[in-house]
Each structure stands twice: as structure tokens, then as C-alpha cells.
Amino acid sequence: MSSDLEIGLYIFMLAGFLGYHLITRVPPLLHTPLMSATNAIAAISLVGSLVVAGSDYSHVPHGWICVMLGFAAVTCSTTNAVGGFLITDRMLGMFKRSDDPGRARLQPSRDPASSGSAGGWPSQPHALLIIGAAAVGIVIAAIIWWKNAQGVGAGGESAGHAGLHSQALKYSYIISAAMFILGLKGLSSPRWARRGMQLAACGMLLAVLGTLLDEKIVHFTWIIIGFVIGSVVGGAMGLQIPMTAVPQRTALSHSLGALAACLVGIAEFVRYEDMNRVRLTALDFEVIVGALTFTGSLIAAAKLQELLPGRPITYKGQNLLSAIVLSLVTLIAVYLVVGQRASPLFYLMVFLALLFGLLLVIPIGAADMPTVIALLNSYGGLADASMGFVLMNKIQIITGSLDGTSGFLLALLMCRAMNRSAMNVLFGAFGKVASEDEAARAAEARGTVRSISHEETAVLFENAGSVIIVPGYGMAVAQAQHAVAELASILRGRGIEVKYAIHPVAGRMPGHMNVLLAEANVPYDQLCEMEEINPSFPQADIVLVVGANDVTNPAAKTNKSSPLYACRSWKWTVPARSSC
């Protein structure tokens, strides 16, 4: 046991490092898909759920509770897995370079990844999905049939076959772990991201199938029902949900994954066999983190869906209350571990953890939600990992750790991309919310600014059909007119339409931009004045703003305290920034 634990810890640590390194390479452009992907991978709790749901509880009192909890967990995590992978795939489909640009840009292709057989035929996604699901069903049925056959013909041979099972299990886990890692690695570039996610989905499938071989699993009824319900719900969710609602969906499916982890933990607790302290600690951790992630994610989803007001909700004594709840949870957890006793206090702890999740997310504003979701994701991963310790299931340790670190790092990266400090996001609303209304409204109005790397910019430009360049005084100061003109001529050379939008007050003297662009040999007919070009903004793929902050600032239209109020500003669609 102890050596097992040691190995588990090593795995946990190494997988954590690996997660860190994989995620640092992911460009901010892919952060949202990454979030969704790690979320889907967090559904590895499915594996644990399977064991719980399928185990033989005949000798355990209240065994049916365990089965029911396991069933719920299987349903939840299947939903999480299927929905997560589908949505990630759809999202990545939008980044796909396509030979027929009109369709690729406007309509994300929807080939299903979860079926594992997804190639590149987006024409009949649903049919393909059904075929895939059927194939998976057949495989599962085959496994069940085979296992039953083994069970019937038990006798003397069963020992040898059990060895075979566990071997198959081990190898399927190793392969699927590798697939997860490669899948996450794929996300470091839009080009391989999709392939990577499909690989990860295959890995998940493999892990699940491998788990079904586990000799602990003997009952399949509830597992199958859970699979079917979960797949249908998750599939529907993954295919139907509009792209704009992705963060909510991620949060929601995430809460399901966390719920699964929590439920599995409870089931294990109910079963309560030979728990040593280490396992119990892991169990406590799993349940607490799972529970708080569950409620936290629910709140996050509700805020994003605007079921709850998006601005930070604060009240007096908030810090105190949170602190009290948290310390109570900790106290009970410690008591349980020390006492090593099955105590009803356990359920109180679960309840308090649920409450804490609520308290944790409520004060955080909607603008910071993506970051919070990433963080909750990481909690979910940690819950998975501790579930892995409880069940001594290595793939769960690997995946959980991968997910935990990557989620955490992702949260940090997102903070940095949004120019927010992590402490600010997590605890900002806990303290005094400075000029709350103004700041919150400003934050919401601003939308999300993302910084993108040079490579991503290049990719964006490659795929664009028309580009509008908005030069400003910044370009003049940097004497960047030649660079801008060069870029424009390269783009023109590739058949991309380039126009310059000259704001009437751009620069420090009338005609400033004209003088400079003329110097860089930009033909006059490419220069458009504001009224002329405003209608073209909605059709433009990229608006490149070069040192023209104030004329593009939407606050000029809305914020009365802005010095630019009522100054005409660009009608503004796709803000793309670049540091030229």
C-alpha cells in the first residue's frame, strides 16, 4: 500500500510538472478551447465512477446507495466528457484553415470527436455521431458479454484471466495517459489543436473501455443507463449550444464533473471498508474540493448566463463568514482523519463544502468568470487526482494532476492576458470593492481584451479576406508608416483587400496621417474617411489599430466622464490589436 502511495505521489508530481510545461506553450488565442478541453479531460472521474457503480456491494449495508451514487456519477461525468469534447472540437473547428473560407469562418464544422472515429467529413455530423456511438455501444456490449462469459465459466481458469484483465487495464491506461498528454500538447498551435483533442477523446474512450475490464466491475445495468443518459444529454449540449454560451456550458459541465467526484467520494465513504488515514485524507479532500467546485461552477454558470447579477455581490462580514465555513470544513476533515471513524459529521462537511463553493464565487464579477472557471477546473482536477488516490487508480492521478496544474496555470495566464492580478480576481471582491459600479460596468462594457502573439497574428492575417487599418498618432510617433505600408502591400499581394480608415482627428495636425502615408507611398485611393468606411467595418475580418487609442475607444460614445465624450468614434466590430 505504502509503495503504491509513493508511486502515486511521484506520478502526481511528475504529471503536475508536465501539465505546467504543456500549458505554458498554449497561446492565449486557444485559452478558451483549452479550458473546455481540460474540463473534458477532467471527466476522467468517469473511470472512478464506473468502478463505484459497477462494484459488487452485496456484502455492504446500504449497497444500493453506493450504486445509485455511482450511477449518478457515471451519468454526470459522461455528460461532462461527451459534451466537453464535442464543444471543444466545435470551437477548434472555427480555427480551422479552410480552402473554402466563407463556410469555415461563419459556421463551425461539427464533426464529432467523442465517437473517436471522427475524420474530416463535416457534411453529415449527426449520422457520423450515431455511427460512432453505435460502434462504442457494440464494443461495450462485447466487453460485457466477454466478461460475463468469463464469469460463467469461472472455476479454475479465472485467476489467469484476471491477470490478463489487469494487464489490459494497465496498458490501456498508459496509452490513454499518453494520448491525453499529446492531446494537450496539440493545443499549443491551432494547426494541431483539433487533432490533439480528438486524440484525447480517444484516450478517454480507451481509458473507459479499459476500466470496464476491471474485475471489480461486475454489474453493468446502471453503468449502461448512465452512459446512455450522459451521452445523450452531453451530446445534445455539445452540439446545440451556441458558441457564445461556451463559458457557461463549460462551467455547467464542470460542475457535473465535480459532482461526480464528490458523489464517488461519498459512495466510497458509505462503503467504508479498510480506510487508512492516508486514503481517508484523500477522500476528504476529494469530497470537499468536489463539492465546492460543484456549487462554485454552478454559480459561475448562472452568473455567465445572467441568471444571477454579473457584478460582484458583496455583503458585510463576508470574509469572516467564508473563513468560518472554511475552518469548520477543515476541522471536521481533520477530526474524521484522526478519528478514523464513520461519522455523520462527514455529511455536515459535505454540506459546508457546498456552501463554501457558493461563498467563494458569489463575490466575483462576471468579467472574471473565465478565470474562475479555469481555477475551478483545476480544483476539479485535484478532486480527480485525490479520487485516484482513494481508488489507487493511476490514470486518474495522472489526469487529475495534469488537469489541476494546467487549470491553475491557465487561470494565472488568463489573469495576465487580461491585465488582472490573480489575487485581484480571487480576492478582489472579498475586500473593499473600490468604486464598484463604475469599475464593474466599465469592466463589462470593455469585454475581454486578449493579447495575441506574433504567430497568431500572422495566422489571423493569413485567413483574412479584408483588412482595415486604423492609423493614429502612435504610428506617427513610431514612424511606423513604412512598416504599415509594407504589411499592407504584402496583404494586397495575397489578394487581401486593405483599406486605411483615417479618423478626422487622427494625429496632431490636420492631415497628419495623409502626410505620413503618402510618404510611405500609400495610394490616395486606399485612404477612406470615416463616413465612407464606417459601413465596411462589419464586413472586415481584421481591424488593425496602429497607435490610435482614443479614436477607437468605445468610451467616447458611452462614458460621459470621458474627455472624448460625443467625439465621433469608429463603429467598432472586431477589435484586434497589434504592437507594430
Binding site: A476, P504, M509, P510, G511, H512, E519, L564
Partner: protein, 315 residues
């Protein structure tokens, strides 16, 4: 465009709205007359320099024309080429142009001179302008003034102390010697133009050099400037052109018309004139309203003037 004469002012209907270049501080008599006639007079030169009012900023739009034309005048009367030309008959070196005062007119002059191929330097007392001069590809003459706050909140230059002015003159005298063309555009709102170039400085310049003084109307940046005339002193041409925008009448009128249109659009609501005093732009430009002089500068100047007269009478 220009302010009305006393005769014209008396002929304006009472209660009418007048939009013009009044320069009220310098033209108190006419302002008083307008107030007495209960004319609501707005002065385009008083429109505050905020972003929203940029479309009404006639000073800027007209200065654009002045800056451009000033360079053409200089190029015309300079006995050299502006650009550098390397030919089979030897190399002709580019003319060196110095632009003093980098406001709108100055910047436009810099841009225009650059386009003609001259080597252009700019100078201004406001250090922030360095960046703007360089953004047009010109070089900035650096001079340690030893004074801060050289810029007022509207972005115009402030008056320097006498001592600093002296030092600046000295330094400029040394610098100017090397230039073929000097275009001066330095103005301080509500005051005579700063004296940047003394007679002695002009006498040090090469024969054939040209000075174009855009501040001629406000007394000139050059000691020798005769408003509205061109004089020659030791072979140096000194131009003191007045109302340069009228020499580029079409674009100037076009821009001025745009300025007036956007200003009047602010004045008129639902087809009737409605003077909204809460509007910063309107309040700023308003000189006389309902028989009173409301513009702060004009009011104080008027009071001081009246007081001075009283003392004069009693003495």
C-alpha cells in the same frame, strides 16, 4: 469671417447671433458695441480646444492653410532648391528650413517643407511638441529653457519670463545662422507675438535667406517684420503675410464652412436657436450674451480698460 466694423455692428439686428473671429481681448470696443446692441456674439477663436470641438476648431483649420502657404512663399522667394539633387553637373545641397513654433501651422509647414525635400528642423518652447515634430520626420532643436509649464491647458504656449526670452533669443541667433529658411509661427493667445528673431540675428543670416513670419498680425516674431509687406534687409527677405488662408481660398473656405456648420449645429435645436450655456463649447465661445459681456478675459480686460480710462479722465 473677419470681425465686423463698428458700422457693420450697428446694422446687425438686436438679439441676432453673430459668429466671427472677434479676438475680444484685442477688440474691446467692438465687443462693447455688440453687448450694447444685445447681440449674442460667438468668437470662433475662443472655442475650447477639446476633442469634441475639434471639428469646429477654425483656428486649426485655417492654420493648416497658413502653414502650407508659408512654405510655398519661402520656396518661391528662396534663391535655392529645396531638395538635394546629385547631378552630372555637381551636387545641389538641400535647403535647411527651421520652423519656430510647432502648433498646427508649424507642423503643417514642417510637413510641407519635408515634402518639398528640404532638411527641416522644428523648435517650440513646449517640450511635448518634440515628439510631434519628430513624428513628421523633422528634427527638433533642443534648448534648455529652464522653465516648466510652458503649455496652457488648451495646448497653447504660455509667455516666458523676460530673462528666459533673452536667453532664447541669444541661442536662436546662433542656431538661425545656418538656415536658409526660417518660418515663424509662435503665438501666445491674447498677447503680442514673442520676439524670437532680432534685427542683429537677421543681419547675421546669409544673404538670400528667407524669413516668413506667420505671426505678423500679432506683431511678428521677427523684429523687422512689417505686417502685410515683404522687406529685404541685408539680402534677407522678411515676409509678413496677412490672412494667408485667403490665398488658398477654396480649401480654407471649405474647412471654415465645415467648422461653422458643426458649431451652428450645436447652437440650433429643433429648428430654433437655443443657446445652451451648460455646453462647454458654447459657453467658451460666447462673448456677449443678452447685453452682457460674458467672456471672462474680455470682461476683465473691459473692466481694467474702463478703470484706466476713469483714472485718465480724473487725472
Amino acid at each position: 469671417v473677419q470681425r465686423p466694423t463698428a458700422d457693420e455692428a450697428t446694422r446687425i439686428r438686436e438679439g441676432a447671433v453673430l459668429v466671427s473671429f472677434l479676438q475680444p481681448v484685442l477688440n474691446l470696443d467692438i465687443v462693447r458695441l455688440l453687448a450694447a446692441r444685445k447681440i449674442n456674439a460667438f468668437s470662433m477663436d475662443l472655442i475650447p480646444r477639446i476633442s469634441r470641438a475639434q471639428s469646429m476648431d477654425a483656428l486649426s483649420s485655417q492654420a493648416t492653410a497658413s502653414g502650407y502657404k508659408a512654405v510655398l512663399i519661402a520656396a518661391q522667394s528662396l534663391s535655392k532648391f529645396f531638395p538635394m539633387l546629385t547631378t552630372a553637373a555637381g551636387t545641389i545641397f538641400a535647403a535647411k528650413v527651421l520652423v519656430l513654433g510647432a502648433g498646427v501651422a508649424g507642423l503643417q509647414a514642417i510637413a510641407t517643407a519635408r515634402r518639398l525635400g528640404a532638411v527641416v528642423w522644428g523648435y517650440d518652447v513646449r517640450p511635448a511638441v518634440k515628439e510631434q515634430v519628430e513624428s513628421l520626420g523633422a528634427k527638433f532643436l533642443q534648448f534648455e529653457l529652464g522653465e516648466k509649464d510652458t503649455e496652457d491647458k488648451g495646448g497653447y504656449a504660455r509667455q516666458l519670463s523676460a530673462e528666459t526670452q533673452q536667453r532664447q533669443q541669444q541661442w536662436l541667433a546662433d542656431e538661425i545662422k545656418g538656415f536658409d529658411v526660417v518660418i515663424t509661427t509662435a503665438l501666445i493667445p491674447g498677447r503680442p507675438a514673442p520676439r524670437l528673431i532680432t534685427r542683429a540675428t537677421v543681419e547675421q543670416m546669409r544673404a538670400g535667406s528667407v524669413i516668413v513670419d506667420l505671426a505678423a498680425e500679432a506683431g511678428g516674431n521677427c523684429e523687422l517684420t512689417q505686417p502685410g509687406q515683404t522687406i529685404e534687409h541685408n539680402g534677407v527677405m522678411v515676409h509678413g503675410p496677412l490672412n494667408l488662408p485667403s490665398t488658398a481660398a477654396v480649401p480654407s473656405s471649405q474647412m471654415y464652412a465645415r467648422n461653422i456648420t458643426s458649431f451652428v449645429t450645436q447652437l440650433v435645436k429643433n429648428g430654433a436657436v437655443a443657446i445652451d450655456l451648460s455646453d462647454e463649447v458654447i459657453r467658451g465661445a460666447l462673448v456677449t450674451h443678452q447685453g452682457e459681456i460674458v467672456h471672462e478675459g474680455a470682461k476683465t480686460a473691459s473692466a481694467a480698460d474702463t478703470a484706466a480710462r476713469h483714472t485718465g479722465e480724473s487725472a
